[in-house]
């Protein structure tokens, strides 16, 4: 490339500055000219992108010459919303001065003052070249190139892909619903959206190009806006035409269509449903325009576009909240309930109302059903939710949706667009929890709770950001413990997960939430911090470090970890100690005498416990008989086959249902342990070590047999884990015990160790009914 700069420009073709001497002959030539012209750096997006690239190249050369690194004025991190552009201005000023000085020594360095000049020159040349081609015949190639070039620009793609474009379309549609037919309405709506978006783009372009002298005339800008409107109308109307056509087809004809057509039709039907049911107001259009500008800027600077909050706020602003709250009685029973409105509504309108402790409504969700007293919601009416500003971001809207879903209203179908906003995402998660299988939120993972201006927090329950309470030094008061969502990645990273698993937890989050709620002792930490400790102080314990917020209103978790007994001792005497649930912590003194060596049956396997006989409860045969249905069936008769009919029953098969359980299953205590199971580390290897580690980390060693719950426990314990070839996932507490299930420690171990330990435990529990308690001990 020739020229005063040694920086590279995109499209080497345009380094040739000679005017064309021959007319383009082929469709390809015209296509490429139009394509390149469409990508010329004379639009906001391309200018910004080109500036960033050329500055980067220049700064690289500066670095190579001087060894000094300078910041790129157009690096991500700058925000269009910052009108002062302080960072950009400052970096440019610094760079200009640095370059000026450096160029005195390194003459080969480019002059950054010329970057904008060259961008403008390049853009002008591309446009001129394309203009010379126009009107020379074969306009189809130019048309295709222009369309392809425009469609391929991030500017245009964003307008198509950014979800708010669809939302804004719907908003405009609300205005036009009563005036136009479906297809025409969609076309006009899309035209309005397209023109609006284009107008924003043109305004941005003009402001950006003017200093470069490449701005377009008012006539050109007008043409661009009209063109965008026409294109959008054709596209939008066409899609709606397809939707309407498909809808008019007879069901038989639909079914006969190829599967690909049916799939496509379902997609456009879904679009039509979304468009027809989304309750966004027209004000969303202006929000969309603002969003589009922000998104363009974000993408140009190489960072993700964050858009949804703005549309949400625009939506809220348009809802007449006080009026909506006035639709329900001013006083009622506290809590969330479904109520009829104050005014007559023909039986189709219901309100889900969240009332505070005084019974005053603070949030309301309006439902309109298709039939009076029905549960199917009217898609055309959509959903409207309003929460008093001071009570927002506390999960109230989610509670309203969940209550509606619980009552059988198909809110999720209507609220399908909700995942576009943080509120919608929270609703979706809430619905998923209510209807398992619908969502992706991990059941054992944190719930994220938004609390307005103080940010998002990880909570253990929907709507509640408090993980527990910890004392405030120097007073009797306790402050809530919270984990800011922004800290969670650091607090629960892979390293913390690994440490937590050493303690028998599933994850660092599991440890965090458990220790925050169930700490045993509180120690003073450095710099006013607090260290919560859970576990036996003679071994490795789980800890949380807390730091008070500036106003001393909350404790924030700053560290999740484990500490040795020495490290805990180094913290000094605890500020406070509190009790813990029996059977959940290691190191408890037991109320049950341990088995004496001479009481250990047959080499130390199953020990007799004073008060029991080693076979407390029914004898093995008794238990089996009691649990066996059809035990008296004569040979040749049908046996119980576990709820499924036997194919044939010449062989008597009697599946034993789980032994009858006591009327209640109390938490495992130690006073009524019926059998002690001693597992040898040597004989049972990894299985014994897993059990030992899990007990040391706080899992109970006294377990309650509950064969009836084994399937559910197994599923809960293994949820989220994956099989590992050559290993078995060992659970502790095992699934056949009441204490098993969610929260059990799961560790991949040697299959032979797992089978051996399982055979031993199975043998030891033989004859014990559900509800019987055993204690597991690990020995050498």
């Amino acid at each position: 490339m020739s020229g005063p700069l040694d920086v590279a420009f995109a499209g080497d073709d345009f380094s040739v500055r000679d005017p064309i001497t021959t007319l383009p002959r082929t469709l390809e030539e015209r296509f490429m000219a139009a394509w390149r012209a469409a990508q010329a750096p004379d639009r906001y997006f391309r200018i910004t992108e080109e500036r960033h690239r050329l500055w980067r190249d220049a700064l690289d050369q500066y670095h190579a010459a001087t060894g000094e690194t300078l910041g790129n004025p157009y690096d991500p991190g700058l925000d269009l919303g910052d009108p002062t552009r302080k960072q950009e201005t400052r970096r440019k000023a610094v760079a200009f001065e640095k370059f000026r000085l450096a160029r005195e020594q390194y003459a080969e360095l480019p002059d950054p003052e010329l970057i904008d000049f060259r961008i403008a020159q390049d853009a002008r040349y591309r446009r001129d070249l394309a203009a010379q081609y126009s009107g020379t015949g074969n306009g189809f190639g130019a048309f295709l190139g222009d369309v392809a070039g425009e469609a391929a620009t991030p500017h245009s793609l964003l307008a198509m892909l950014v979800p708010p474009a669809r939302l804004a379309a719907t908003g405009a549609q609300v205005l036009l619903r009563t005036f136009l037919g479906s297809v025409g309405r969609e076309a006009v709506t899309q035209a309005a959206v397209g023109m609006g978006a284009q107008a924003v783009g043109e305004a941005l372009d003009y402001a950006t190009r003017k200093p470069l002298g490449t701005q377009q005339s008012a006539e050109e800008i007008g043409q661009n806006i009209l063109g965008a409107g026409l294109g959008s109308a054709l596209f939008g109307g066409g899609v709606r035409g397809l939707q309407e056509g498909w809808r008019l087809l007879q069901p038989g004809a639909r079914a006969a269509a190829p599967s690909a057509v049916r799939d496509a039709a379902r997609a456009v039907e879904r679009e039509a449903l979304d468009a027809g049911t989304n309750p966004l107001p027209p004000q969303a259009t202006s929000a969309h325009e603002d969003l589009l500008a922000r998104a363009q800027d974000a993408v140009a600077r190489g960072r993700p576009a964050q858009v949804s909050d703005h549309v949400a706020s625009a939506t809220e602003a348009a809802i007449d909240g006080p009026s909506l709250l006035g639709s329900v009685a001013p006083r009622g029973e506290p809590g969330v309930r479904i109520e009829a409105g104050v005014a007559g509504d023909g039986g189709r309108e219901r309100f889900v109302v969240y009332r505070d402790e005084a019974g005053a409504p603070v949030g309301v969700l309006r439902l309109t059903t298709l039939e009076p007293d029905g549960r199917r919601l009217d898609p055309a009416a959509g959903l409207t939710v309003y929460v008093l500003p001071q009570r927002r971001r506390q999960g109230i809207a989610s509670d309203l949706y969940v209550e509606a879903a619980r009552a059988g209203y198909n809110v999720r179908d209507i609220a399908g667009r909700g995942d576009l906003t943080p509120t919608g995402a929270a609703v979706r998660r809430a619905l998923a929890r209510e209807r398992p299988g619908l969502g992706t939120a991990p059941p054992a993972g944190p719930h994220f709770v938004a609390t307005g201006g103080r940010g998002d927090f990880a909570g253990t329950a929907p709507g509640n950001p408090d993980l527990g309470l910890a004392p405030r030094p120097g007073s009797d008061a306790e402050l809530p413990i919270r984990a800011p969502r922004s800290h969670l990645r650091r607090l629960t990273g892979p390293q913390q997960d690994g440490a937590a698993r050493q303690l028998g937890y599933d994850s660092a989050w599991h440890q965090l939430s458990d220790v925050a709620a169930n700490w045993d002792a509180v120690h003073a930490g450095p710099d006013g911090r607090l260290v919560l400790v859970k576990g036996d102080a003679t071994g490795t314990v789980a800890t949380l470090t807390l730091r008070a917020t500036p106003a001393n209103r909350y404790w924030h978790v700053t560290e999740v970890g484990l500490r040795s007994a020495d490290q805990v001792a180094a913290l000094g005497a605890p500020l406070r100690v509190r009790g813990h649930s029996p059977g959940t912590l290691p190191g408890e003194t037991t109320a049950v005498p341990r088995a004496l060596p001479d009481e250990v049956g047959q080499g130390g396997g199953i020990a007799r416990v004073p008060g029991g006989d080693g076979h407390a409860g029914p004898s093995p045969s008794d238990a089996r008989s009691a649990a066996t249905t059809g035990a008296s069936s004569p040979p040749g008769s049908a046996g119980d086959v576990g709820g499924r009919p036997a194919e044939r029953s010449d062989v008597i098969a009697r599946r034993t249902d789980p032994a009858p359980a006591p009327s209640t299953l109390e938490p495992a205590g130690k006073a009524d342990v019926q059998r002690v199971i001693l597992l040898s580390r040597k004989a049972y290897g990894e299985a014994a070590r897993h059990i030992e580690d899990a007990i040391r980390a706080g899992k109970p060693d006294v377990l309650t047999i509950n064969r009836a719950g084994i399937s559910a426990n197994r599923r809960a314990a293994l949820r989220g884990t994956r099989t590992i070839p050559g290993k078995h996932r060992d659970e502790y507490p095992p699934a056949m015990f009441k204490e098993g299930g969610a929260g059990a420690s799961v560790r991949p171990i040697n299959p032979s160790h797992n089978r051996a330990a399982g055979a031993y435990i199975g043998r030891a529990c033989g004859g014990l009914p559900d509800g019987a308690k055993i204690r597991i001990e690990i020995a050498d």
């Binding site: 089996r624 046996g639 576990g642 010449d650 062989v651 056949m736 089978r755 031993y760």
Partner: protein, 160 residues
């Protein structure tokens, strides 16, 4: 042929067969047992399951001859098994168990693991063949089975 079927909950990846009145059932597994897929001692045999656990549909049949192993069988292991007089046979999955009544006598017991069907996580066929010569054999091995230096035909009880 006489048959029965039932659903058995399996834990610790094993299905154990022994007489109901056996005093010390269940076998201790070593690495070699786990590799060959079974642990056997007189009166009690434990077969390693294909899965870690879960409900299994178990089909039990008493036949003259076990016959060929069907094509859909994933793993098939044969062991000698003696059914005592006047005693049921217990089929245990550690967490679940069932009793079957099998005519007394010496059998070739073949345990076949098949692909799961329906909602169950495994399907097992136990064939008691009264006229086949009892033997130890891994008739069909899947990738988890490794026989090495031959079959180990002894095992210790699970409880010492």
């Amino acid at each position: 042929m006489i048959t029965a079927s039932f659903v058995l909950d399996v834990s610790y990846s094993q299905i154990v067969i022994f007489p109901k009145s056996m005093e010390n059932p269940y076998n201790h597994w070593t690495q070699r047992h786990s590799d060959q897929g079974f642990a056997w001692r007189p009166g009690c045999v434990a077969f390693g399951a294909l899965t870690e656990g879960g409900s299994h549909l178990v089909e039990v049949s008493v036949v003259d001859h076990a016959g060929d192993v069907a094509g859909d069988v994933i793993r098939a292991i044969e062991v000698p098994f003696e059914v005592p007089v006047d005693d049921d046979i217990e089929v245990s999955g550690v967490s679940g168990l069932a009793f079957v009544s099998v005519p007394p006598g010496g059998y070739l017991l073949r345990c076949e693991f098949l692909p799961p069907a329906g909602d169950d996580e495994g399907r097992v066929r136990l064939i008691f063949a009264r006229k086949d010569k009892p033997r130890f054999a891994v008739v069909r091995a899947d990738e988890e089975i490794s026989i090495g230096d031959g079959l180990l035909t002894t095992a210790e009880p699970a409880a010492p």
